[in-house]
Amino acid sequence: MTKAINLTLKVWRQQGPDLKGRLETYDAKNISTDMSFLEMIDVVNEKITLEGKEPIAFDNDCREGICGMCGAVINGRAHGPEKGTTLCQLHMRQFSDNDIIVIEPWRAKAFKVIKDLVVDRSALDKIIQAGGYISVNTGGAQDANSILVPQETAELAMDAAACIGCGACVAACPNASAMLFTSAKISQLALLPQGKPEAARRAIAMTRVMDKLGFGNCTNERECEAECPKEISITNIARMNREYLKASFISTVQ
């Protein structure tokens, strides 16, 4: 049933990348439990705006859990308390009257804060640019059905491809590692026959760039898997490690 609840928010406010930030307190009154978390922030922001002050900056776009643009740490949990859910799909019925909610940005060496809850995740794009693709130009592809992909393989590849690039895995990891994200792409392409010719080069190039960008190592904490809104499995990390080892043995890429 729909209810209205009152909440106290403690929100990270930071004017810019090199400025100091701090938690500020806001009341969120009369919040319908049918609202999404972001709609709740919208309500608070309307009020702040009418007071002539700057509203809380936060990234979002699709509000359907697919674009990967939203994300914040809610009471210490990336994307909030509900499993397998992005922040935009989290609804206020997960909270109770008079709750105190602490809202902070992703924290990781590789993700600089731009403003308030907005961080710079361009490092994730750089990992993909290093090799997260199959090198085919437009045109001249053979008939789609001439490449057979067993259904189970296609399903596994799709499981990995479901990653939305939100960065919650990095934020949740005590080492701020990007292994889950990177391994998802490496797995997807290594599983498919189309991706095999470049598998070795890809594994090495993406891993190198990932390390260079300041992401930490994976020490099997499994926090990433627990917080990933798309429930990407850490078996992808094992597959990535295998691909990397294999590649280090046989690769001609130095």
Binding site: L50, D59, E64, I66, A141, M158
Partner: protein
Amino acid sequence: MQLDSKVPGGPLSEQWDKHRCELKLVNPANKRKFNIIVVGTGLAGGAASASLAELGYYVKTFCIQDSPRRAHSIAAQGGINGAKNYPNDGDSIQHLFYDTIKGGDFRARESNVYRLAQASVDIIDQCVAQGVPFAREYGGLLANRSFGGAQVSRTFYARGQTGQQLLLGAYSALSRQINAGKVEMFTRREMLDLVVINDQARGIIVRNLITGEIESHDADAVVLCTGGYANVFFLSTNAMASNVTASFRAYKKGAFFANPCFTQIHPTCIPVHGTFQSKLTLMSESLRNDGRVWVPKNPGDKRPANQIPESEREYYLENQYPSFGNLVPRDVASRRAKEQCDIGKGVGETGLAVYLDFAEAIERDGRDIIEKKYGNLFQMYEKITAENPYETPMMIYPAIHYTMGGLWVDYNLMSNLEGLFVLGEANFSDHGANRLGASALMQGLADGYFIIPYTIGGYLAGTSRKDITTDHPAFKDAVKMVKARMNNLLSIKGKRTVDDFHRELGLTLWEHCGMSRNEEGLKKAKEHIKGLQEEFWQNVTVPGREKDFNQSLERAGRVADFLEFSQVMIEDALERKESCGGHFNEAFQTDENEALRDDENFCHVSAWEFKGDDKDPEMHKEPLVFKNVELTQRSYK
């Protein structure tokens, strides 16, 4: 002015081949000397950027989001059409062409649509080669399903995330070109103006959304792939940043805007729950295969669904359309739902919803079968509404979903402004007055992968352009204008928020220029919006600074353009005195309350030209000529 669509002559099936052969080619060694700007990284922009860079052009690509992977295309669920005829069920290029032309209620160009159907086949090959994990049969072959408006199985899909997977395919190709240094990628940039020199598009002005800096970029050609304008209605299924600004700024610089009143309503969305609702969520229309739509017989009946006995329920679609029942097309289902709610039979807290009931299907097939078919949708529904659709009927309501209108383009996808190309949802070209499911993804990728690489070469090789840089006065003037506008917005310091204006605009349009329209309502809306626009420029409040990350300022600019643009949209709706596809004018309907076209007087594209801030826009007609199909009237009784 006579609009020249540059459609090649000869039989449909040979036109594109012939045209490609006639287009001038750019010498490969010269390609890298040409700079091309691509705005947008959805399916259209991502595919175009990658393909043009592969050919050797130097490409600068821009998008609003923090990564090109997040464009609105990512949200498409259902699938993409391709006339592969893998299931051997009688499909062909001709068949896909016909379905698309008819689905568009005969308001699209034959030649463009035929070419789209031809390209659909190559798209599937291309995406598979990139590693898009389409659904497969046990034997490893690609799986297909059927979709609205077609009797064959030609839709390829990747679970309920087809748009995501296709976009990630284009994004990967784009990433490869960024890595190769052939594409310079500018994220978190918003295009705020188009620069035209000697009647040719030569560059854009963008705002760096992190620093607030205004930047100028010049080019030999500009390719707009900035998506649709459904957010003019405030609540829509589009992503929050979807806007009309890029297209509208181009319109104000001389590009014609075609058929702005052709907007599409999707009948099965999760209903609005309250004033602070920020967007609407689509539920795939495939649900109507098994769900029964009903409302209480008595207006104002507020009992929960399970307490309303069978005899007091009205299955209005089944009653009114005995042969199609719950499966009538999107526009018909939407209008009938609104009608029921308008007479007080709507359900739920707001009264703006109808039931979509699976009880009978579950009883008949068992819960397992229904779960297999729709499990993920039921789960998504439950996440948003906290109601279990296995036990209580779903509540649904129509919502704005897609815009068929867009910038006018010729067969080369070039606007009437030379050097300005428009691809994807941003152009008007292929869907006429109504788009069929699974065909927007197809069009975006066809435009980006397979059409622009040829036609832009023809333009670059066939025209002369002056040497210019961003020091040209046209750039300086545009920057000045953009800055003045922003400072103006920041200095008003009024009493209403941007969202507040946007919401009011959306409600007005939804009421009078949405699912069904009439002359009186449209005129009322036009007056109202004029007043709202005036108030906006006197009473909006936009906090923060210009040279800073400022989301309020971003939104203010977009809403200012929506306010202005919506008036062109209404003008177009007033002018089109017929009903067709998504444009339903109440004065023009058949005895069965269906859209009544007037092919004698309105078989044309309406292309609007900006004439000045205080003048009405001027309409130009591009007559539509049908040589290969016969114009028919729809009936679903």
